[in-house]
């Protein structure tokens, strides 16, 4: 069983700050949907509105046929929510945490063990350990188990991978993919751009607005303009040394071991000569400029610049 979510020009203000600005989007049944954006982009606020922990200032949210304001009790019954800070009792053991969350949803660990088996198995050897003594990755899995224990139709995960190491993050996403196969709708938010490619569709968010809404492949496809990557003998000063390069170069960003460059309509040869000249004058060697394939983060940076 899964359920769709319809967000209809939702608005939310905190004092003077507009956390969400007339946001609209629809999430299909059974979709693994990602909200990608930095802190303050409105992801947590949106999730709290869907779970009806907050009331919108305008617009409405429907979970299936249910309205988030009036039918919030019904929504809460079918929703599994994992808040940003994992929401575990640090002085209770793994097992006690699970039992507690099972009981407040009127079920038991025994009855629904099969639902969380995939996740829980990985932490079961530590079931007597206090939640506070678990590593970040294990806490995250326990929190996921707690959110899944009552067989929700909609799973909402607020930054489940923040502060968690790259390996645990990968494992977590593998788990989510498995969960999705059981037919559950999953909303997940993350500040890590590289996780976008693991979702069916993503919303890139910035300051309460959507920058883009599409499948990750399409977002990358829609990237307009050319992108070049650059490396040289001295990557540490490269950004500073290029700070005065003018004539047609738009953006220069570090990107892992390379620098990504966008321009205002220059071709590869033109970019190459502008950059090489500038860097050579600053003492760089081995200057390589070549065409690059844009990633989600390039799109995000590009869209951020536009706004």
């Amino acid at each position: 069983m899964s359920v769709s979510v319809h967000i209809n020009s939702i608005e939310k203000k905190f004092e003077k700050v507009e956390a969400l600005k007339k946001l609209s989007l629809n999430i299909e049944e059974g979709e693994l949907f990602g909200f990608i954006g930095p802190d303050g982009s409105g992801k947590t606020t949106l999730f709290r509105l869907i779970t009806s922990l907050l009331i919108p200032d305008g617009g409405n949210i429907k979970v299936g046929e249910l309205d988030s304001e009036t039918d919030f009790r019904e929504i809460r019954k079918i929703t599994g929510y994992m808040p940003g800070r994992f929401s575990l009792y640090h002085d209770l053991s793994v097992e006690e945490n699970l039992n507690f969350y099972a009981s407040i949803f009127n079920t038991t660990l025994k009855k629904n063990y099969h639902l969380i088996k995939d996740v829980y198995e990985q932490i079961e050897p530590f079931k007597k350990r206090k939640a506070g003594a678990l590593s970040g990755g294990m806490k995250q899995k326990l929190a996921l188990s707690c959110a899944l224990i009552h067989k929700p139709e909609l799973l909402i995960l607020d930054e489940p991978t923040t502060g968690v190491d790259a390996v645990s993050r990968k494992e977590f996403w593998e788990l989510l993919k498995k969960m999705q196969k059981t037919g559950i709708t999953i909303l997940v938010s993350t500040p890590y751009m590289d996780e976008a490619s693991l979702c069916d569709r993503v919303a890139l968010m910035q300051k309460g607005s959507l920058l883009a809404l599409d499948s990750p492949e399409n977002i990358v496809k829609k990237y307009d303009g050319d992108l070049w990557q650059l490396s040289s003998s001295n990557m540490h000063t490269i950004i500073a040394d290029l700070s005065e390069v003018g004539s047609g170069i738009k953006n220069i960003f570090r990107f892992g071991e390379k620098v990504h460059i966008t321009s205002n309509g220059l071709n590869l040869e033109e970019v190459k000569s502008v950059i090489t000249e500038e860097l050579k004058s600053k003492g760089h060697n081995n200057i390589i400029v070549e065409a690059a394939k844009p990633q989600i983060e390039d799109c995000f940076l590009d869209l951020m610049e536009e706004n």
Partner: protein
């Protein structure tokens, strides 16, 4: 020991009861180097950083940071290092200027020095008009940039950055790293942890810890060569997965 090494760690062990958090760590960090300190959650990074910054004592082994032995010169050490993390940074209920003044005071800067530095840093961060704004009103990215400026205000020999860019937007994250480069060129050693693997590439050398041991330590390029993979992400996964 080379004159140039600002951090020297030899045979560092740290045990909590029977649990070995740091198992025979050996490494050095040069003056002005940007040193990435990576590892899975629970691999022992936090323990090691606590020892290096004088908050915790090693069970055995020699640890020299900025010329101070962390075992019995912790107080002297603390004057020569800066520290910043995502969780602990600045006071939310004080203004930008008050935070500068407070931390400057802690590190024994004179009122005049603090004023000069504050003016200089605020101009550099383009935040002069925000100097009387309460910190909690500022976006996270700005706060983190401010926190870094405060952490290096007293020109420490080493600054420890514990996940300084978590949750920060991609543009600000890159601006943050430019600040790091600039400081390292001035001679401050940067000791940084991060979960963003692209940021690992920004470091001059990277160490990767797993289960209390340093499993790899080299430049990002050499590490990729050594593990025959394309990205630092893959290096990290190879090392951490091997363990589990």
């Amino acid at each position: 020991m080379e004159e140039n090494n600002i951090i020297v760690v030899e045979g560092l062990y740290k045990k909590f009861g029977s649990f070995v958090a740091n198992d025979n760590l050996n490494f050095t960090v040069r003056k002005g180097e940007i040193f990435g300190f990576l590892g899975a959650n629970g691999a022992g990074k936090t323990t090691a950083i606590k020892i290096l910054s004088g908050l915790s004592k090693p069970t055995s082994g020699k640890v020299i940071v900025a010329g101070c032995n962390v075992k019995h010169e912790a107080n002297k050490l603390k004057k020569n290092i800066g520290y910043m993390s995502q969780r602990f940074s600045l006071y939310d209920d004080m203004t930008v200027k008050e935070n500068f003044r407070f931390y400057g005071g802690i590190y024994g800067l004179s009122a005049k020095e603090i004023k000069l530095k504050t003016d200089h840093l605020l101009r550099k961060l383009d935040m002069v008009e925000n100097k009387d704004v309460l910190l909690k009103k500022l976006p996270l990215g700005w706060k983190q940039k401010l926190a870094f400026s405060v952490a290096v205000m007293h020109d420490p020999a080493v600054v420890f950055l514990d996940e300084p860019t978590g949750g920060v937007d991609p543009i600000t994250r890159r601006q943050f790293w430019e600040m790091i480069y600039e400081k390292s060129l001035e001679g401050t050693t940067i000791f940084v942890t991060t979960h963003y693997m692209d940021e690992a590439e920004y470091c001059e050398r990277v160490s990767i810890m797993a289960e209390g041991k340093i499993e790899a330590l080299d430049t990002p390029a050499n590490l990729k060569k050594q593990f025959k993979v394309e990205t630092m992400d893959d290096v990290f996964v190879k090392i951490a997965r091997k363990e589990s």
